[in-house]
Each structure stands twice: as C-alpha cells, then as structure tokens.
C-alpha cells in the first residue's frame, strides 16, 4: 500500500502553518516529521489522520483519494498523540481490555512487546509517566493497523523502553506496515523519508521591505 500526500497546506486563521508538503510512503517504510517547536509537526500529524482539514492538496491511498474518507482512515490509521488516551482510575489490564473490546483485537500477553505484564494490576494513576506511555504504546499491537501516526512516541521513555518501541516498529515494518513519526531525535532509526518543517512567517507580519 502506498500513501501519498500532494501539496498539503494548513492555515490557522490568517497565518500559514505549512505549505507544499509532498510525500509518498510505501509499505514497510518510516517517515520522520521534523522541525523546531511550533513548526507544525503535531498539526501535520492531526491533518494526516483527518482531525484537521487541509487548505489545499489531497491525501491518497493506492491512488484512491481519501482526503475526506473517514472510514478508510479509521480502518488503516492509528494515531497516538501527546496524550496517552488512558483513564487514570483504571488498572492497566482494564484499560487494555477496553481497547481490545472496542477494536475487537487482542494484545499478545505471551510475547508482551511492551513489557506490561508486571504492572497489569496497577492503577494507571499510580504508574510512572514512562509506564503510562508504555501502556499507551500497547495500542500499537492491539489495533492491527497499517499506518501509524506517532507524535513523539518515545517521550518520557528510558533507553530500554525505547528499544522495546523500536522492536515493535521493526516488526510492524517487516509485516508491511508504515509509520509517520514526529520526533526531535533519530532514536537510532533510519527513516526512508523525512518531512522538514520550518516556521513560516506570515507576510502581513513582515517588516517594511525597504528598511
């Protein structure tokens, strides 16, 4: 499967966040979205999964336009943003069972890719930030989706856990999946595509050109 973006741009109010974003991602490859704080990495991720509408351009999957197709996106896309999508009152296992129930898939507790077996009975509000992120990342293997859109997935993970995440990512790519990752550091992965965002200056804010 091939995901293509064609001259995507996004405006918030009058100011242009980014423009002319083009990419083409094949099965099994990884795309990094990079840029300084405030350059629109998260905005681009939310735009790609369809939470935001692009000003121009289109997104297509295997030459089929899916810019406004919620169903195909829901079938293929997984989005993990800054929030962990967890309810602190629940125990880890309750949270995982809920995700399993709604997506009608199962987490492989035997191989346990995110090493959550030791904290299953713990309430999520008692977990550390890193443990919560790990629980959030179990969704990657629960929902069997082709395209991952991960916004700083390794935030608050230590080196060991970053390794776990990389293992998952490797498995995913070997099975024909792809991933978009907004990140600041390379976490030792070589992406096959990189989208670089720079902070765009709106023309109205620019100083007098004659000075």
């Amino acid at each position: 499967m091939k995901l293509t973006g064609h001259s995507l741009s996004f405006k918030r109010g009058e100011s242009l966040i980014f423009s002319e974003i083009n990419f083409s991602i094949n099965s099994g490859s990884i795309c990094f979205v990079k840029g300084a704080n405030g350059s629109g990495k998260s905005t681009l991720m939310r735009l790609l999964v369809g939470f935001l509408k692009s000003e121009t351009g289109s997104i297509s999957l295997d030459n089929q336009d899916i810019t406004n197709d919620r169903e195909i996106r829901a079938e293929n896309f997984l989005y993990l943003g800054h929030e962990n999508v967890i309810k602190p009152q629940l125990t880890v296992i309750e949270q995982i069972f809920f995700w399993q129930g709604v997506s009608q898939n199962t987490y492989d507790f035997k191989s346990d890719p995110m090493k959550v077996n030791s904290i299953l009975r713990k309430k999520l509000y008692q977990c550390s930030e890193g443990q919560r992120r790990r629980v959030a990342l179990t969704r990657l293997s629960i929902e069997k989706k082709r395209f991952w859109f991960l916004d700083e997935p390794t935030a608050s993970l230590d080196d060991n856990n970053i390794q776990l995440f990389k293992e998952s990512l490797k498995n995913h790519c070997n099975n024909g999946g792809s991933a978009f990752i907004a990140t600041h550091d390379n976490i030792g992965i070589k992406p096959s595509f990189e989208i670089l965002l720079s902070i765009q200056k709106s023309l109205t804010e620019q100083n007098d050109p004659f000075i």
Binding site: V49, G50, F51, L52, K53, R70, R73, A74, E75, F77, L78, Y79, G81, H82, E83, N84, V85, I86, K87, Q89, F98, G101, V102, S103, Q104, R139
Partner: protein, 220 residues
C-alpha cells in the same frame, strides 16, 4: 454489537463511580425540598406548582453531569481515538446520551415517587408522572449532548452551558408539566402524550447528527 457494549459499560463505569451520581440526585431532592417549603408558606401550593417544581428540578439536576460528557475524553485523547475507531461518532454520541439518561435521569425518576410526598402528589399520580418523565427525559439527555459539544474545550463553561441548554428544554418542560398536571387531576389526554413522544423521538433522531457536526467543526 460487542464494541458498543464495551463503550457503554466503560462510560457507565465513569459516570457511576465517584460522586456525580450522588451529587445530582441530592441536588434534585434539595431543589424540590427548598422550593416546596418556600412556596408552601403562602398556602398557594397547588398540584400545578408542585408538578412544575418537579420538572424544573429534574431539568436543572440533569444539567450537572452534562459538562463531563465529552470534556474528559477530549482532554485525555480518548475522543481522538474514538474518531479513528471503527465506530461512528454518531453512535458514540448516542451511547453517551444513553449513559447520561441511565446515570442521571433514571435515578431521579426512581426517587420521584418519594419526593412526591413533600410535594403533596398522590402515589397514583406519581406513577403517571413517572410515565410522562419516561417519555420526556430521553430528549433532555439527547439535547444535552449538543450543549456538551458546543462548550467543548472551554474552561469553566458550566454556566455557559446551562444558559445555552436550559431554554431548549422548554418544549419538553411545557408539555411534561401540562400532561403531569392533567394526570394529577385524573384527566388523561392522549394527544398531548403523543406530542411529547414526538418531540422526544425527533430529538433522539436528529441530535446525534447535529452534535457530531459540532464536534467535527470543533476539530477543524
């Protein structure tokens, strides 16, 4: 069918644990007690005022738990996740409204025969009023989803939400109070029943689409 049950039970868990259930039912009883005591000192208490007190108290207490309908899910990213789940947003809204009805309106309806005692309504009339409430309250829960969606992301917008939503309850309140008043006087007007039922059904049918549109606009 299964994913819906998971979401519903998940929603129920969060709406029933904690204090919100206790809070809205206590609020309901307290409004009724204070207003009925305040009115009774003038000796003008009629079945009409007591029925009106009952319905207004119900509407006000139902508003208490509206704000949390989408706000928590919005804050912790669950709403993002649900938008990319195989379940449509409209279905999720229906499930939220059902949860609101089960955890807010239903407990108050269970208490209604009890609070009818200080209001001076007979037990037989109370059962009839209960039937009228059963028809009218689903509309309250479904309309509330619109308010919850409109005030999404606004901090401290409880009051704003009440100002938005309470006037829209008026048709249900007017018909509900009128029919309830008639049944306490042993007049059974089926056409008024049917109009209330129609209002309720129309609300159930169209509000999920309106609410989902508001949430989508909120996102984009």
């Amino acid at each position: 069918m299964k994913p819906y049950i998971y979401i519903l039970s998940h929603e129920m868990k969060f709406s029933t644990n904690g204090k919100s259930l206790l809070l809205s039912t206590c609020f309901f009883i307290i409004i009724i007690l204070t207003t009925s005591i305040s009115v009774s000192q003038f000796g003008v208490e009629t079945s009409a005022t007591s029925v009106a007190i009952l319905w207004v108290a119900l509407a006000l207490s139902a508003l208490l738990s509206v704000k949390v309908m989408f706000q928590i899910d919005f804050d912790d990213g669950t709403l993002d996740w649900l938008m990319l789940s195989p379940i449509s947003l409209e279905t999720i809204i229906v499930l939220k409204a059902i949860t609101h009805w089960l955890t807010t309106c239903l407990p108050m309806m269970v208490l209604t025969p009890l609070v009818c005692i200080p209001l001076g309504i007979t037990f037989d009339s109370a059962l009839w009023i209960l039937l009228v409430m059963l028809i009218g309250t689903p509309a309250i829960s479904f309309i509330s989803t619109i308010g919850a969606a409109l005030t999404l992301g606004e901090r401290g917008s409880h009051l704003l939400l009440s100002i938005f939503i309470l006037p829209t309850f008026l048709p249900i309140l007017l018909f509900g109070i009128k029919i309830s008043m008639l049944v306490t006087n042993s007049i059974y007007d089926s056409s008024a029943f049917l109009i209330l039922l129609a209002i309720s059904l129309v609300c159930i049918a169209i509000t999920p689409f309106i609410t989902s549109m508001i949430i989508k606009v909120h996102y984009t």
